[in-house]
Symmetry: C2
Subunit: 196 residues, 2 copies
Amino acid sequence: MKAIEFYFDFGSTYSYLSVMRISDLAKQFDRKVIYKPILLGPIFKSLGWETSPFNLYPLKGRYMWKDLERRAEKWKIKFRKPTLFPANGLYAARIAVANKDEPWCVSFIEEVFRANFELNLDISSEEVLTGILGRIQNLDPDFILQTSGEPSNKNKLRIETELAKERGVFGAPSFFIQEEMFWGDDRLEDASLVGM
Amino acid sequence: MKAIEFYFDFGSTYSYLSVMRISDLAKQFDRKVIYKPILLGPIFKSLGWETSPFNLYPLKGRYMWKDLERRAEKWKIKFRKPTLFPANGLYAARIAVANKDEPWCVSFIEEVFRANFELNLDISSEEVLTGILGRIQNLDPDFILQTSGEPSNKNKLRIETELAKERGVFGAPSFFIQEEMFWGDDRLEDASLVGM
């Protein structure tokens, strides 16, 4: 079964669409999804952007929200424009990195994205993250928050982000089938089809 | 019959894909296409970019050429990476503006794009433009070049570009169905479907 590596940032709008679509598509195309949370912040900084290009360029931003609304409707994904954009996904990303092999990790990722883009909750808040973790199986949120904040785990997220940049990632979502890269939710189907 | 307004720049890579696809799609969806040549240069300048973002951000540029190759293959459009990018489409745009109601204008637009992205010719060269005009029906290339360079026509192109920006255009291709905007060749189908 060919793997599809899926780079995303918890604050990224089009990553939301892909997170909500990729499980079904992977089943349909018989792909294993490898979730790769990264931080777009350092990648944008290296391009000279201090925040999301959607904030730097208001025309682009205004269009993006309209487009996102249309795409969410097309894919039947619930969407509400968050008050805060881009949300700070640092803590959520650390939790996802530390627990990438846990069976509940994909549910956690999906729930954090829903919190941000459907429920308009602040995903940088410990309370929101604890709430999500508490609702998934028999997890111990405090233990999870603590281990994900350890220096070795923080470093893992930094390295994943650095590696992504070295592979050519400049935005999210980005997909890799081996070394072939696809950028944007619009390319998820094409990525899934490689080698079929 | 609902009109689709199609903003493009002769140097824009994804505009090439749309130019080669839009006639068939318009027939299929019973749309009238209104071709709107503009210059991305002044629009990019207002965003603080001195050239195409694909040149300003090499990671983005490298990906774009790869993506364009894949998309061209998908749509069965011949494509060769031009030596010069972005090409200067100023003279071609002036000709298209001056002759927008001529029955040969769409062929001219298509042939200029093919010259740039299939044949790797310099579309800012008078010789190349004269050659294209000469191959279309019984045209007088010298007369056309001369009238398209008149101040009133130059001004028309400036105004079209300014209006596009005011409507929210920040890149090309962009499509409008009345005041609903769609950006990018990836949205041509969605734009064609509005109100169907």
